[in-house]
Amino acid sequence: MKYIDEFRDGGVARGLAAAIAGAAEPGRRYNLMEFCGGHTHAISRYGLADLLPASVNMIHGPGCPVCVLPIGRIDNAIELAARPGLILCTYADTMRVPASQGLSLIKAKARGADIRMVYSSADALAIARAHPDREVVFFAIGFETTTPPTAVVIREAAALGLANFSVFCNHVLTPAAISNILESKDVREIGTVPIDGFIGPAHVSTVIGSAPYEYFAEEYQRPVVIAGFEPLDVMQAILMLVRQLNEGRAEVENEFTRAVTREGNVKAKTLVAEVFELRRSFEWRGLGEVPYSALAIKEAYAAFDAERRYGITYRPVPDHKACECGAILRGAKKPVDCKVFGTACTPENPLGSCMVSSEGACAAHYTFGRFKDVAVVARPAAVPVVEGARA
C-alpha cells in the first residue's frame, strides 16, 4: 500500500532506533506523551517500545474520543435508541462501551432497539432519506478529524429540508484536552509527572493545522512534534523531540508534512464554524469537567440537534471507585498501577475509559504488552530458513 508500507519499513526502523539511542543524552530521561489514541495503537501494535532506549518513556494520553465519552452520554444514546421507531446510527466504536444498568448499545440492540452501525455520517443521512417515516439520529463522536464529516451532513440535511434527521453531538477538542493535562496538579507539581514533550495527533492536525499547538509550546515551554500515523513517523517524531529537548527548544515541528500544513484544512474549519459552537463546559470521562472543550450545534441548525429535539438531559455517572483512569489519562499512573487492571477490568469487561477502546492506554497494554509484565520467557531458537510464501 503506497504511502503506508514505506512508512512501516523495519530496516529503516533500526536506523531510526539507533539514531534515537545516539541522541538520548546519558543520565537524562525523556518523558513524552503521545496524545492521540492512534499513536498509542501504533506504538503497541508494532512493539515500538522495544526499539526505544530505556531513557525514553512514552506516556499515553487521553486522545481517544470513545474513551473520554462519559457513561452518561452513552446512557442518553441508549435512551434515544429506545424510543419506538427511532433508528440510532453510530460508529462501531461505541457499540460495546458499558453504560449504566449493565447496558451498552450492543445489548440494547439485542433487546430490540434499532441501532445501526455506519462507516460514515453520509450513511446515516442516507438511512434518513430512505426512511422518511422514521426518526433517525446520528450519534456523532470524535475529535476535530471526525467533526467536519458531521458538519457536512447537517448542512446537507438542511439543504434537503429533511424533517426526520438529527445529530446527537459529542464532538470534543484536542487543544482543550492538552491544556487540561498540562494544568493538572500532577503535571504542574514538580516531581510528580514530568511531561517533557508531546507527539501531536496526525489526522486532527490535517484539519486544524499545526498553528494551534504553538500556544502550548510557548505557554508551557514544551516541544510539540506533529507525527504521522505510521510507526516510522512516530519514531522520527520521537527523535525530533529528543533533539529539541537536548537543545533546550520548545517549538512546534511538523513531521507529517505530507498531509499537515500550518493552517490545516480551511474549508473544513469554516464548515465546522458554521454549524457548531463551543460548549462552556463538557465532562470528559477520567478528566472531569473541561471548559470550552466540546461542540454543540448552533441555533441556526437547531432542527438537527437531537438534544433539543428530544429534550435530552445529561446525568453524570461516576466511574468505578477503584478505577485509576483519571490518573492514567494524565500520565500520572501506568495501567499496571491500577488495582483492577487485568482482573476485574479487562477488554471483555471494561470498568473505565482506558480499557473501553482498543486505543486506550489500558486496553493497548493488556492486548499488546502485558506479557512483558510477567517473567521473561526463554527465547526460542530461530525459525527454520524454509520461507513462507506471501500470497
Binding site: 503497541s44 512493539g47 462507516y119 520467557v377 506471501r390
Partner: protein
C-alpha cells in the same frame, strides 16, 4: 377438459415462497423434500425416503462433527450459506485427520423466504457435496414464522473415519514444534464485510470457502504424526492459535512477515481498522508438527491447490502463560491475544 390422473402441481420455485405448510409434515413438505432436497442431493440413501440413513461403518475410529450456519448475507462473493455449510462440517471432520463419509443437513426456513433462493442454496450445497465426494444422506426441514429466522439457517453434521495410526488433537502441540498455515488469512471475513450494509466497498476478494479433506489426506500421507490441525474460522488465526496454545499448555512465537495476507485483504482491513489475524477464514487450516517433519508437511501442503501458499509461520515454545507472541514486521514483539467480543470496524 379432465385432470390428468396422478397430476401434482410442481413446486413453484420461480415465484413461490416458504410457508408454514412446508414444515408441517404433510403433503406440501413431502413435495418440497422430494422436488428440492432429494432431487438435488440425488443419492440412493436419501432416495430411500427414510427418516435416517443406514450404512455399514468402515473399520477404525469414527469422528462426528456438527456445525450450524447463520451467516449473513446468505450469498456472498465466492460462496453462499449452502456450500459454506458443506465445507464447514467436512473441514471439522477433516481436522481430526479423518476421511469424511456422509453429511446430514437440517434446515430452519423462515416463512416468506423465496423458494428460488432456497433452490440456489440447495443446488450450491449439492454441487459442493458432489465435488467433495461426500453425499448429504439425511436431513430435516422446519419452518418458523416470519421474523423468527434470518431466511435460512442450516445445521450440517458429518461423520468420518480416522485412518489407523493417526492421532491429531488440540492438546498435542509441544515446544519445538513448527506452526504452519495453509494459505492467506482474512479472505472470508473481508468478502462478507464487503457486502454488509453501510460497509460496502467494491473489491474482488472472494471468500475462501473450500473443503479441505483432500488437502488433509495428502498431508497425513506425507507426515504420519501431525500433532494438531484446526481451521481458523470465527475469530481468525489469532483465536485458533490461542485455543491450541491453551489446550496444549504451551506458548507460541510467530513471525508476522511469514503470515500470508493478500494485498486486497490487507487494504480492506486498513480501511476498517481490522486486524487480518482476527478475520474469519473458511478454507484454511493451521497445522502443528515436529520440527523435523515441517519441510515434508510444507511440501505436501504446497502440492495441493488449496495449500499452494502454505507457509511455516512460527514455533511452539515453553510458556506457562500460554501467550501467543508475534515478532512484528517492524522488528518489535507483541502479544497476539484472544479476540475480545466480535471484531468491529472502528473510526479511531
Amino acid at each position: 377438459m379432465s385432470v390428468r390422473p396422478g397430476y401434482v402441481r410442481p413446486v413453484d420455485f420461480r415465484n413461490g415462497r416458504v410457508d408454514l405448510t412446508h414444515g408441517g409434515g404433510g403433503r406440501a413438505m413431502a413435495q418440497l423434500i422430494d422436488e428440492l432436497f432429494v432431487a438435488e442431493f440425488d443419492n440412493d440413501l436419501l432416495r430411500a425416503g427414510n427418516d435416517q440413513a443406514a450404512f455399514a461403518a468402515p473399520p477404525g475410529r469414527m469422528v462426528l462433527a456438527t456445525d450450524s450456519h447463520v451467516v449473513s448475507p446468505l450469498f456472498f462473493p465466492g460462496g453462499d450459506i449452502g456450500c459454506l455449510s458443506v465445507h464447514g462440517t467436512i473441514n471439522d471432520v477433516a481436522m481430526a485427520g479423518a476421511v469424511p463419509l456422509y453429511l446430514a443437513a437440517g434446515f430452519i426456513l423462515e416463512e416468506g423466504y423465496p423458494l428460488a433462493d432456497l433452490q440456489r442454496i440447495v443446488r450450491s450445497m449439492a454441487a459442493a457435496a458432489r465435488e467433495a465426494g461426500v453425499p448429504v444422506v439425511t436431513g430435516d426441514t422446519k419452518v418458523v414464522e416470519r421474523g423468527k429466522g434470518d431466511g435460512v439457517f442450516i445445521t450440517t453434521t458429518g461423520v468420518g473415519v480416522v485412518p489407523p495410526g493417526v492421532r491429531i488433537a488440540g492438546d498435542r502441540a509441544r515446544p519445538g514444534d513448527r506452526i504452519l498455515v495453509s494459505g492467506s488469512v482474512g479472505d472470508h471475513g473481508v468478502a462478507i464485510m464487503s457486502l454488509r450494509e453501510n460497509l460496502s466497498f467494491e473489491t474482488t476478494i472472494l471468500s475462501d470457502t473450500a473443503a479441505l479433506h483432500e488437502l488433509v489426506a495428502g498431508m497425513v500421507a506425507a507426515v504420519a504424526d501431525i500433532h494438531c490441525l484446526r481451521d481458523p474460522t470465527r475469530g481468525g488465526l489469532a483465536t485458533t492459535l490461542n485455543e491450541l496454545a491453551r489446550q496444549s499448555g504451551c506458548g507460541m512465537l510467530i513471525d508476522e512477515r511469514r503470515i500470508p495476507v493478500r494485498p486486497q485483504v490487507a487494504a480492506a482491513c486498513e480501511f476498517l481498522g481490522l486486524d487480518p489475524l482476527y478475520v474469519a477464514n473458511e478454507g484454511k487450516l493451521v497445522a502443528i508438527c515436529a520440527a523435523d517433519d515441517a519441510p515434508a508437511l510444507l511440501a505436501a501442503m504446497r502440492a495441493h491447490p488449496l495449500g499452494h501458499a502454505a507457509a511455516i509461520i512460527g514455533e511452539v515454545i515453553e510458556d506457562p502463560h500460554h501467550f501467543v507472541q508475534m515478532d512484528t514486521s517492524f522488528g518489535g514483539r507483541r502479544v497476539v491475544d484472544w479476540l475480545t467480543g466480535e471484531q468491529l470496524p472502528r473510526i479511531c
